[in-house]
């Protein structure tokens, strides 16, 4: 709320924004486990969103957060795109978990994405469940969309972002930034809306989902769909949703976010102490004897408090469909033919989900297209999740690239 005031204060010439703001959105339909209240600014898109699947989605709402102030010529905006299970709470507390913003180490006053200099925007993606329209939202007939929600793509998410930029009066971003699925959105925005950004920073990401990526997602989706409480996706308002399936999906995915070395370092074969203080031991049963089991179970369960199972299905599908070269006639370089932006691609040596070869391939394609591109593989022990964690070299690169 005060952020909105800052934005107007920073830009006295700005026309009134067509935003419903401030607002507390409380989704009327219970999610997988609980209603998700979202204290965000929201924009109701004035036009329907044309989707890659051929539909036109009406009454799309975009929930977003902003940090810092937009300057007078509106040239200092940075759009940060979040990952699969991320949200718009980039640098402010999550309304459900109360946890600090997911990229607080990177975004804030004096930080690499410096909110003293930049107006930073983060929007909940289309299909998600923290205020932006998704399968848990209400369809025109008054019932939740559930599985009637159209299958969306990364480019559809980006169309939502661009509509938000239009509403904010931002013709051109200083940069679009994202890790993992956020990186896919950054690439898609730079490729499909080349006039809308001066730079794209893509971290631990890929230009297309590999068979292995799709396979892991399919395991997650099948876990959700195998939960009897999923009820063909029509679980809203019928008590608890498919918590168990969603938790298993999260557990499987979480393994892909870590490195073997990191897991060994953190857990090894250590046994888990019992809640009553009994030292850990092999129980010759199927309790969470090992710390790694206990950790994954906790990750799975806590995830269901903040995420909608159907959103998980839709967003993983969007990621699986992502193939930027395919969208542009099969040659990745052609995707960037019209781009004048600067690009920076960063991979991590322990990330086996989107390994370095993916980023290097994008860099080669950008070279072939004549774009200004930087690429590097940083060393960090945390696997794919390195982009969220303490990697000082990444901080320097982000700060330097954004200039």
């Amino acid at each position: 709320m005060h952020r909105q005031k800052e934005m107007r204060g920073g830009c006295p010439c700005a026309p009134p924004l067509p935003l419903t703001c401030p607002v507390i959105v409380t989704n009327p339909h219970p999610m997988a486990t609980a209603p998700l209240p979202a204290a965000s600014q929201v924009l109701d898109l004035p036009e329907p969103l044309s989707l890659d699947g051929g539909q036109r989605l009406e009454n799309v709402r975009v929930a977003f957060e902003t940090y810092g102030a937009l300057n007078a010529d509106r040239s200092n905006a940075i759009l940060v795109c979040h990952a699969l299970t991320g949200d718009q709470y980039l640098a402010s507390p999550h309304p459900i978990t109360g946890k600090p913003g997911w990229w607080l180490r990177m975004v804030g006053p004096g930080k690499p994405i410096d909110t003293d200099r930049y107006f930073v925007i983060c929007a909940n993606v289309l299909g998600s469940c923290l205020g932006t329209t998704g399968p848990a939202s209400t369809a025109p007939d008054g019932a939740p969309w559930a599985m009637r929600f159209p299958v969306i793509t990364i480019r559809d998410m980006v169309r939502g972002h661009v509509a938000l930029l239009d509403a904010l009066g931002i013709a051109r971003l200083h940069a679009v930034v994202g890790g993992s699925m956020g990186g896919m959105q950054a690439l898609s925005l730079a490729a499909n809306f080349p006039d809308r950004t001066d730079a794209a920073l893509v971290i631990a990401s890929t230009a297309r989902h590999s068979a292995q990526n799709i396979a892991f997602h399919e395991v997650g989706r099948q876990a959700i769909m195998a939960d009897p409480k999923w009820q063909d996706g029509d679980y809203y308002g019928h008590g608890k949703g498919p918590d168990k399936g969603l938790a298993v999906a999260r557990m499987a995915a979480h393994i892909t976010y870590l490195s073997e070395e990191g897991m060994h370092e953190k857990f090894g074969r250590n046994l888990q102490d019992r809640p009553d203080g009994t030292p850990g031991a092999k129980t010759f049963g199927f309790d969470a004897d090992f710390q790694v089991e206990s950790y994954l179970r906790h990750q799975g369960l806590s995830f269901t408090d903040r995420f909608d199972a159907n959103s998980y299905l839709y967003i993983t599908r969007a990621m699986d469909y992502f193939d930027l070269a395919e969208e542009h006639g099969g040659r990745l370089a052609d995707a960037f033919a019209a781009s004048k932006a600067r690009f920076c691609l960063v991979s991590f040596d322990t990330d086996w989900l989107y390994p370095t070869a993916e980023s290097r391939g994008i860099a080669h394609a950008l070279n072939a297209a004549g774009c200004r591109v930087s690429f590097m593989e940083l060393s960090a022990p945390f696997g794919h999740d390195s982009f969220l964690l303490d990697v000082p070299a990444l901080d320097r690169v982000v700060r330097g690239f954004l200039g």
Binding site: A363, R372, S374, M376, E377, R396, V397, G403
Partner: protein
């Protein structure tokens, strides 16, 4: 010569005009790239060491992590006015192919290398019978990255064989330019400007 640059880099920086498109292969921490960028060139780099790449990007330069042997192939023909390979030729697996690639992606190339024909190197081999460790070749034989030592005369013969034109040549001893006469004996270091 440009102020703080190493002499061989200053020779190159002074001869690349503002607005030129330049690829510095093996750009290190981006000293030359930065100087070229500052004078208005579209300067890009290729560098093996991730830490160096990160330093370059932190300085606002466009640099790709990669190596001369493998990654030049991904640049289109004639993408650059100049390709630069400073103090790197002798570390590549196939210097001949790297030179071909430099002159494919660049209309011209600056190539600099330490001269293995310098009298100190010859003396070290002749009198001590040991692989030389000198100011420009400071690393012992077993850990040197320099796997393809060459002399100025080797370079001249090679480019002549390949029909490559030498547009300019500069020879250095210490930080001083020296004449072309007996350069293969007297110069520690050479910079060539070549084209097809």
């Amino acid at each position: 010569m440009s102020g703080a640059l190493r002499p061989d880099l200053a020779i190159i920086a002074d001869r690349v005009g503002a607005g030129a498109r330049v690829l510095d292969v093996g750009c290190g921490d981006g000293v030359l790239l930065g100087a070229l960028h500052d004078k208005g060139c579209d300067a890009r780099g290729l560098e093996l060491d991730a830490h160096n790449v990160a330093e370059c990007v932190a300085r606002g330069l466009s640099v790709i992590q990669g190596d001369a042997d493998a990654d030049l192939a991904f640049y289109p023909d004639g993408s650059f006015d100049y390709a630069i390979l400073s103090q790197t030729l002798q570390t590549t697996k196939r210097p001949d192919k790297v030179l071909d690639e430099l002159l494919r992606v660049g209309r011209r190339a600056f190539v600099s290398f330490p001269n293995f024909g310098h009298w100190r190197v010859r003396a070290s081999l002749l009198w001590n019978g040991r692989m030389p460790v000198t100011r420009l070749l400071p690393v012992a034989w077993y850990e040197t990255p320099n796997i393809h030592h060459l002399t100025i005369n080797d370079f001249r013969a090679h480019v002549e064989d390949r029909g490559i034109v030498v547009e300019g040549a500069w020879f250095l001893t210490g930080d001083q330019l020296t004449g072309a006469s007996a350069a293969n004996f007297r110069a520690e270091h050479a910079v060539f400007l070549i084209s097809r």
